[in-house]
């Protein structure tokens, strides 16, 4: 991350000094503004979802979901600490159901929880890769955009999209299995 960040920072600033010196600070500030407006949007989404999740966990429902997903989790991640298994199960269910607002807070909690235990690098990597290549069942935003631009069949991209996401997830899982060691 540091290498990429440093490289882009230096080369782009250097180029802008010659091309358009006014744009350098302006671009950085506009990036910051976008980050702030996104963060504000996210506080609201997190607040609602974390409120619902608290109900889920106090009622014991999240435990049931976690128990149901335990065999699959064991297969993907190996042995997991209980609490991490709970959060990860909620994140994965939210991913499969396409509830993008709900995935993030549970994702952050999962990684924080996993980190408390030794030898979880494999599980963390696998978990991240699953999220970063996540299966989306219905690409609703793309379909909405195509409809608004008068596509004759906005839905014809659903099957290719599902297949492509599935492929990226499968490749991701295989790569993790090949290149990341399971134990410390």
């Amino acid at each position: 991350m540091n290498a990429i960040f440093g490289l882009v920072l230096i080369t782009s600033t250097a180029i802008l000094i010659f091309v358009n010196p006014d744009a350098a600070l302006a671009a950085m500030l506009s990036g910051g503004e976008k980050a702030l407006s996104l963060t504000l949007k996210m506080v609201v989404i997190y607040a609602v979802w974390l409120g619902v999740f608290e109900l889920l966990s106090r009622s014991g429902l999240s435990n049931k979901i976690a128990k149901g997903l335990k065999p699959m989790n064991k297969l993907l991640f190996g042995q997991l600490p209980d609490k991490a298994n709970d959060y990860m199960s909620l994140n994965i269910s939210a991913n499969i159901l396409g509830m993008s607002g709900a995935t993030t807070p549970m994702g952050i909690k999962s990684i924080q929880e996993l980190e408390k235990h030794p030898n979880t690098e494999y599980a963390i990597t696998m978990f991240f890769v699953l999220n970063a290549t996540s299966i989306q069942l219905i690409p609703s935003s793309v379909m909405a955009l195509r409809t608004s631009m008068n596509s004759s069949s906005p839905a014809d991209i659903i099957l290719p999209t599902v297949l492509a996401t599935l492929l990226s997830t499968v490749i991701g899982v295989i790569l993790v299995k090949l290149f990341v060691k399971k134990r410390g």
Binding site: M1, F5, S12, L16, A35, V44, V52, M149
Partner: protein
């Protein structure tokens, strides 16, 4: 159909909590409270990602890299018009959406390029953004391996997307 999904799910959760005698106001408030520290911990990472994305675009590096890579992408079946989309998507969802809209209006929303772009956009994630957010609260800074694996996997699915849109 899908518009009923979330309210029905919520109703089940609310109802189940009621049966289990959870205090709904206390629980919901408690959960919502943790949203602020989350957002605070994520913010600096988002600023960094967005600043770098913006500089990448404004300085013209993004165009240069995309011109440089497009011959290689073409060998793998990714049309040169889509190179930039493939490159921007891991960094910025909004940036990618702008390119997608442009492709729709330039080449027609039902053209091969547009369908292919739709599949690429819909099937890949903003990997760097997810990395920044998911690892915001983490102590480990070893992000290289998970990021590279995710990018490689997403790239394969882009190649696959361009292929499958030829036959479907």
């Amino acid at each position: 159909m899908s518009k009923y999904f979330i309210p029905v799910l919520f109703l089940i959760i609310f109802f189940y909590s009621l049966i289990k005698k959870v205090k709904p106001y206390d629980a919901f408030t408690q959960g919502a409270k943790s949203a602020i520290p989350f957002a605070v911990s994520v913010f600096p990472y988002l600023v960094s990602i967005f600043v770098i994305t913006e500089l990448f675009e404004v300085s013209g590096i993004s165009n240069a890299v995309s011109n440089f890579l497009s011959p290689f992408f073409r060998i793998l079946g990714i049309p040169k018009e889509l190179t930039k989309l493939v490159l921007i998507k891991p960094f910025s969802g909004n940036g990618a959406l702008a390119i997608l809209t442009e492709i729709y209006s330039t080449y027609g929303v039902d053209s091969y390029l547009a369908r292919c772009a739709s599949v690429i956009y819909g099937s890949s994630e903003t990997v760097f953004y997810i990395a920044a957010v998911y690892f915001a609260g983490a102590k480990t800074k070893k992000l290289a391996v998970p990021i590279i694996i995710s990018l490689v996997a997403s790239f394969f699915s882009c190649v696959f997307a361009c292929f499958i849109c030829l036959i479907m």
